[in-house]
Symmetry: C2
Subunit: 181 residues, 2 copies
């Protein structure tokens, strides 16, 4: 048999790259094939259909997101995460849209957000720094996430022209407001 020229990883890599550059909707069989320099056929030998490929792209995007965020978390975990999310919305707008404006895992309450996004270290750090009760920490956490999501969404949908400094300032203001409330 002929040696395999195409690898599943290559397909995913290219599809993810296309999503980053031109948006998730731009991912279709012919365009992926063209960018690989191959025909569409190999796509269908690795994925049962385009839906399956797209689902895999979503998972890749989520990994990319996690790496993006965690690589930017330093001293002040919660605030760093907030800043990183805004940066993600600004510099990876198409991935942000895919992950947070189209597919968001169904949440049933704000507590779910906490469960879902909840970062043990972040809450620990917060409680050590400010010695606030558990319930209060949770509130600050949820509210900053919601606020951050507001900033990020506005940046992702509004044309991405709010400068990094300005968004950093407003995030910090919100953070302090929530802590001190």
């Amino acid at each position: 048999m002929p040696k395999q020229k195409v690898d599943q990883k290559d397909i995913l890599k290219i599809a993810l790259q296309m999503t980053r550059e031109d948006g998730f909707e731009s991912v279709n069989a012919r365009k992926v094939a063209k960018r690989m320099g191959f025909s569409v056929q190999p796509i269908y030998s690795y994925f049962s259909n385009m839906e399956a490929l797209k689902e895999s792209v979503c998972q890749e995007a989520m990994r990319f997101y996690n790496h993006f965020i965690y690589s930017r978390v330093d001293k002040d975990i919660l605030l760093d995460m907030a800043r990183a999310n805004v940066a993600f919305a600004k510099y990876e707008t198409n991935l942000f849209k895919l992950l947070f404006l189209q597919k968001l895992n169904g949440l049933n309450s704000f507590d779910d957000i906490y469960e879902w996004m909840g970062d043990k270290q972040a809450t620990k750090q917060l409680s050590e720094k400010f010695s606030l009760p558990e319930e209060k920490i949770k509130d600050v956490y949820i509210m900053l996430i919601v606020f951050t999501h507001g900033v990020a969404t506005m940046i992702a949908t509004g044309g991405a022209n709010i400068c990094d400094e300005e968004s950093a300032v407003i995030l910090e203001k919100a953070y302090n407001a929530f802590i001190n409330s």
Copy 2:
């Protein structure tokens, strides 16, 4: 000549209704025609192409939004507007997505948000109630809008299962936090 059976308003009305029920992407010539009980031809006599129709639908949607919001503003203007926006995201999810997750007029800074959404009465009421400096009012206004947008977006994209009371509570918490910061 035969009497005109179809009216431009009818087309827009139905296209807006379809957007509300099934999303903006569901609006296409054949579906609109089918729901009107006519052929696609009248659409093209009133609109140069589908793009023009869709642009008009956007404008209709914006009018619908404004009416939705202002009909819910009562005593506490700013907080009422926040609650109304969240309700819009929950009960008019498809319109919310169209207006705020796809087409948002390009904003260049958070001050632009204030200029764009800024409600004279709301700021006046706020300054009378709390006697805060102009600059502070503006900050509260912007931050509550951003926070509200975070809540609304999460509801619109997350499956809309956060109850009205819960979102009301968190909005008020944020409002107080911003006022008292």
